[in-house]
């Protein structure tokens, strides 16, 4: 049997040692009435056959399309050194670092990750990570509810629609209320936010760049929120922070986001990396693991899981969250990615993304019938207005080898002709040119 080392002789010796005459004896405490009604599974296969089956399935996925689809999840370059490092099994076959003496590798890496996130978003404290950007936003909302004692949250509709439906799902039994504020000209409507703010609002949630790729500065929103006693939660695309103003410099109270762009493969939706950072005074309200620096009995620096009295294994039903893992290996990927690129490299990747997107934006806007939807500045993603249904156009472009963009009508009523186009540093001038030609052909 694969992965089970016992020989017949081992089995017999061990059964004898425990005083059982058969393996069935060990299950005598399970009443016969509970025997499975069925356990009809296929026969096991050699690994060669399993991998052949999976290769066949992998071939049925259209990863050969030239990808201009984003929506918060991007086809970025991953340095070759990331995989060999996170594939070191001392990292990936370890458990949550409860025994710090045998886990300094994982613990120091998380501390370095927390440091990188703090520096990237300009906040004081980061946790060890959460499941994904959506659950991080939900956890941030709950933090704001706990901190303010208020139960209503303003959500800008520029926040990912994927995350907005997650927020609704999670809180449906909790008596929270979300007030959705429509965007204006592709960006946050300040007046509507101001009108909605009041003494009952726990937080305002915004996103930068927003779902339409538009870049904003929320300093004024933070000011308004502060005056009303509400917190500002900003969800960000971390790679964009190589270039654009960090949320910490805009007065955000909690910063969350999806870390996939930092060296993680798209992998059909996960595993991903939710990150969360906050001001120092909110550290104890944070959910999830936090690693702290300390010293050992000989005064040497070391790292431990800390502030554990917030957590479920100690506080049980009074914990700040039920979460009991982080996405440690994904956080490690993100850390290694940020180290390999470094201070200048992250800036360069963000700049190249923005330049290629600016080029694509201009190139597509020259096609008859194609218009840029919003005038607001964009980072590496932008919306175009097409002369006909975007879903059909995208379907036609698939035939030509492109995943050309995302049909915004899927999430926003009345946007049936709008397509969201993302451009990463991996796309070439030649691919962009071919996309433009194909689009022109499809539309003519």
């Amino acid at each position: 049997m694969p992965y089970i080392p016992h020989t017949e002789e081992d089995l017999n010796e061990m059964l004898e040692a425990v005083g059982a005459s058969s393996l069935d004896d060990l299950f005598a405490d399970i009443p016969a009435s509970l025997s499975p009604r069925s356990f009809d599974l296929p026969k096991g296969k050699p690994e060669h056959e399993v991998l052949r089956t999976l290769r066949g399935l992998a071939a049925k996925n259209a990863t050969q399309l030239v990808n201009f689809v984003g929506g918060g999840f991007y086809d970025h370059f991953i340095p070759a050194a990331v995989d060999p490092i996170v594939s070191r099994s001392e990292f990936y076959t370890a458990y949550t670092p409860y025994q710090p003496e045998t886990s300094q590798g994982t613990l120091q890496a998380i501390y370095e990750y927390q440091t990188a996130i703090c520096r990237l978003v300009e906040m004081d404290v980061s946790n060890a990570s959460l499941y994904d950007g959506g659950t991080a936003l939900y956890e941030a909302s709950m933090m704001a509810v706990r901190a303010t004692g208020r139960k209503k949250i303003i959500v800008d509709q520029g926040v990912s629609p994927i995350y907005r439906v997650m927020l609704e799902s999670y809180t449906s039994n909790l008596g929270l209320q979300f007030e959705q504020i429509p965007i204006s000209g592709g960006v946050t409507d300040r007046k509507k936010i101001k009108d909605a703010l009041g003494s009952d609002i726990a937080a305002v949630i915004v996103q930068n760049p927003n779902f339409f790729g538009c870049v904003d500065d929320f300093s004024d929103v933070s000011k308004m929120a502060k005056e009303a006693g509400a917190m500002v939660i900003c969800s960000v695309y971390p790679l964009s922070l190589g270039l654009i103003k960090p949320p910490g410099a805009m007065g955000a109270d909690i910063v969350t986001g999806e870390g996939q762009s930092l060296g993680l493969p798209l992998s059909f939706g996960g595993p991903y990396l939710g990150f969360m950072a906050a001001r120092a005074d909110n550290a104890r309200r944070m959910p999830g693991r936090i690693v702290g620096a300390t010293e050992d009995t000989q005064g040497r620096r070391g790292f431990v899981l800390t502030l554990q009295t917030r957590e479920q294994h100690i506080r049980r039903e009074k914990a700040t969250s039920n979460i009991c893992s982080n996405e440690a290996l994904c956080a490690l990927s993100a850390l290694v990615y940020m180290c390999l690129l470094g201070k200048g490299g992250l800036q360069q990747v963000a700049r190249v993304c923005a330049e290629k997107a600016a080029y694509t934006r201009k190139r597509l806007s020259q096609i008859p019938g194609v218009n840029i939807k919003y005038p607001a500045p964009t980072f590496n993603e932008f919306a175009v207005e097409l002369p006909r249904d975007a879903g059909t156009v995208i379907g036609d472009l698939i035939e030509k080898g492109f995943a050309a963009g995302f049909p915004l009508g899927r999430y926003y009523e009345g946007m049936e002709r709008s397509m969201l186009v993302a451009v990463t540093e991996k796309r070439t001038k030649e691919e962009i040119g071919r996309l433009a030609e194909a689009l022109e052909e499809v539309l003519s």
């Binding site: 990863t63 980061s126 995350y163 010293e295 982080n326």
Partner: protein
Amino acid sequence: MKLIYEKSSPGRKGVRPPESDVFAKIEIPSALMRKKPAELPEVSELDVVRHFTELSRRNFGVDTNFYPLGSCTMKYNPKMCEQAAKMEGFAALHPLLPQLRLGGMLTQGALQILHDCAALLCEITGMAEFTMQPMAGAHGELTGIMLIAAYHNSRGSKKTKVIVPDSAHGTNPASAAIAGYSVVTVKSNSRGVMDLEEFEKTLDDETAAVMLTSPNTLGLFNADLQRIVELARSKDALMYYDGANLNAILGRCRPGDMGFDVVHLNLHKTFATPHGGGGPGAGPVGVSEKLIPFLPISRVVKRSDGTFALDYDHPQSIGYIAPFYGNFGVILKAYAYILALGREGLVRVSETAVLNANYLMSKLKDAYELPYDRTCKHEFVLSASKQMKNGVRALDIAKALIDRGFHPPTVYFPLIVKESIMIEPTETESKETLDAFAEAMLEVARVADENPEALRAAPSTTPVSRLDEVKAVKKADFAYIPNA
């Protein structure tokens, strides 16, 4: 060891990222731009590789050491599964592709895996349907309780509480509380399982659900299960099965047959996907017929022509609990594992896991106190009470084992045993490894008798000795600030 930030030299570069091959001006006003770049390290690729290689050597993993961490199922993670998840056709697949026109057709392989893996889990557990969305065990628990709340709400019944035995994982009460319920704890009896009498007294019309783990965290199977299910039924309370310990009962009984309405599985336990130093995991949730309408969307369905599609049309659904379809890369590894083992292999997994646990228990029960002396399932709990007489705590024993080359068992959980030492060997460990571990445990017990002081200094072979956790809280140093 230095931090990567302490190895940074201004101007040093790592990887050379893609360059721009276009001429275009970035049209973002300077007010929206970052004023100065984030202070990420400036290091060479070799610096990075060496740094993290050195860090990795400061870890114990299943691949380096026996890891009998009770309740965590630290079994071997087959390399084949890692290879599968790295295949380009999966790793590079964008999750929004199914949303494009012709969409479902662009991701048929991935959708088939989600569909078929769910079907296999249904057969393994006897549940009617599975959602693969939850991204961890605790996330599965929360999803399960949300499903239970949606079910009761749909019937207009406002139930307010969830019953959890005191032997449950801390996540159980936390998940129930976060879903909006008050939590009522029921004590265990002298046999180590939930006290039936106290349960009957606690159970009432307000009870929305009863959360059980069986075998429980003592590694004991609850023979009163059928009675508990009947009682819960009589009050219209749903039964929740915490599948953390499913690895003990594969092919021996199924939560669905036992009358459970919801079950969450930890793919990173029973189905051998790696723990990753604390994630990513996956916590799929199975339900009985009556909860199907409430499962999250989207759902993968098989059409009559044999193709796969995403289905969103479920008005009673609790909605989205993950951005997409769950931790696909993890699900894929579990799927590969199930295909490799098959029916016979999975049955053998539980048989061997249980044999290994009983074998170790029989070797250790004279030297250490065994509070519940009966056939265990996949794990068992000892107490360091005998050693405590010499002032040696479970923690000291754990640290002493590190110096002997073993990852310690879980200590101080479950809370219902004083100075508990919870041991789960898993099925992938050989008799030789178990013998060596037992020998080390027995030797530690001898040292605890003869020279207890020697254990309190352990560990001495690790890069750091015992760390000051109080100081960590006081310092509140969660991110590196130079010269701070």
